[in-house]
């Protein structure tokens, strides 16, 4: 097991955002976490990457308890994240944004190799190399956010709503690239409102409702589950 979350609770002030959720991600999997707005998906991601302190429970990554490890050190251990809203550094060029992903790495050869790999995945980014991140379109920014997370050379890639605000064609493209990244050996945990795409691409999935996991199963099982269909896939 690459990632294991045990009984995680998290508070925003006095409001409990997560009510003891448990989930796991095996090495090599794509796991989707679906749920409505405010269900706690982004909160779960921020807890895993260390941006939000947890109230109780455990986060075990790659065999180590990282619950109390600082966010910047979790990156070094192999948790890479493309955050919600993309988090592109607007005043930095595309190239600089990608180099930020390699901030704590020292292996020049490996960095150059990964940069080539990212440009290979997203040829668009190569064309925009010298352009400021803030001037990119939404789709390009999403590519940059995913590419930048890949520059941390993650064992586990966390993607928070990669399809948000994108045109249908671009959504298709982003998900194809996620599958490719996974096939090249990176484990992916994906948070999505676009349940259809996410579940059809994922090996397994979890359904999150108001801070609790209410269902889990393989991507196909969830995709055909009547309750999931009604609530998240827009079919009765």
């Amino acid at each position: 097991m690459l990632l294991e979350i045990e009984n995680l609770t998290l508070l925003y002030g006095r409001i409990q955002a997560l009510h003891g959720i448990s989930l796991h991600v095996n090495e090599g999997e794509v796991v989707a976490l679906i749920g409505a707005n405010g269900a706690g998906k982004t909160t779960t991601m921020r807890a895993i990457s260390g941006l939000r302190p947890v109230a109780s429970g455990k986060i075990i990554f790659d065999g180590h308890d990282v619950t109390k490890v600082r966010a910047d050190l979790r990156v070094i251990r192999g948790i890479g994240q493309a955050p919600e809203g993309r988090g592109v550094f607007p005043g930095m060029t595309v190239q600089e944004n990608l180099e930020m992903g390699a901030y704590s790495r020292r292996d020049r050869a490996g960095i150059a190799q990964d940069l080539a790999m990212v440009f290979d995945l997203f040829p668009r980014l190569r064309e925009r190399q010298r352009q400021a991140g803030g001037t990119l379109s939404g789709g390009e920014q999403q590519m940059l956010a995913v590419g930048r997370a890949m520059m941390t050379r993650p064992k586990l890639l966390l993607l928070d709503e990669p399809s948000m605000g994108l045109a249908p064609m671009l959504i298709q493209q982003i998900f194809e690239i996620i599958t490719r990244i996974n096939e090249q050996g990176t484990t992916v945990l994906l948070v999505e409102q676009n349940a259809q795409q996410a579940l059809s691409r994922a090996h397994r999935g979890y359904v999150l409702e108001t801070g609790s996991i209410v269902k889990e199963g393989s991507g196909q099982e969830l995709l055909h589950d009547p309750a999931v269909k009604e609530a998240y896939l827009g079919v009765a």
Binding site: R70, A71, P83, G87, F89, P90, S104, G134, R148
Partner: protein, 323 residues
Amino acid sequence: MDFDGLVRDFPDLTTTGLEQGAIYALVALGYTLVYGVLRLINFAHSEVFMIGTVAALGTWQVMGYNQNSSVNGIGIILLLLLAGLAAAVVASTLTAVAVERVAYRPLRRRNAPPLAFLITAIGASFVLFEAVGLFSDDLGIGGQRTPFGMVDVMQSETLVSIGGWDITNTQLLVILSAIGMLVALDLFINRSRLGRGIRAVAQDPDTAALMGVNKDRVILLVFVLGGIMAGAAALLWNVTYAFSRFDVGFLIGLKAFSAAVLGGIGNLRGALVGGLLLGVVENYASGLFGGEWKDFTGFVVLIVLLMFRPTGLLGESLGRARA
């Protein structure tokens, strides 16, 4: 109003203005760097500057030079400048780091509201200058709460004279060093890996953490950089005025802060533009209305300018400041 005086003294007022403005600019960088990363005005930065002036003065005294000494020979001048610079930079940097550790970091750990930071900043400022004022006698740097005299390291003499425009050796030293320091800092922020880390935290602290940037280390770094700049400013101040006081930081700090806001707080180049502009405007005003109107006019111009450009002249954040 003395238009003739302004016209007659125009060249001199300009160079004096640029000289003072250069010192404002160096101090302003400290405000702007810390603001860019923490969105916090480090009001104790004025004392970071003051401690620098006192450290250089103390070092010169230990070396056997006080207000009654005269300095002869380029070798001795260089030695005193370098020793003073080293002392001022070290003392200012240590002060800046101490302020961050004692006054800010504990509050950050507890997620204190911004007002709490403002109060500890002002508190740290008072504690530092009052301490220097109270102990200056015991330390032998001057009477208790009085002005401190010191050796005039570099006798001011005209170096270049173009038409009626005289530029002295100290003016040239001050203006060129300030510009040199700013260029070096600008290169560091825009080209180096650590500089990129600073810009990342300034633009988006959470995402910076997701890139593996240690925010505490970046914060420490901006305080160190601000301290180095303030230390350099302190040496240049000593060379220009051969005088300091326990509360010398108050007005300089206020003007440097204003210069930073004038140029666009969070913007490094804005600090230079704001500093030089404030220095020059003040001096023109003193030529026009008389010396006692200097501060009055400087701040009136600040207020009027901010009415029309609330974000300052170059108004961008540290993170976005790129050529």
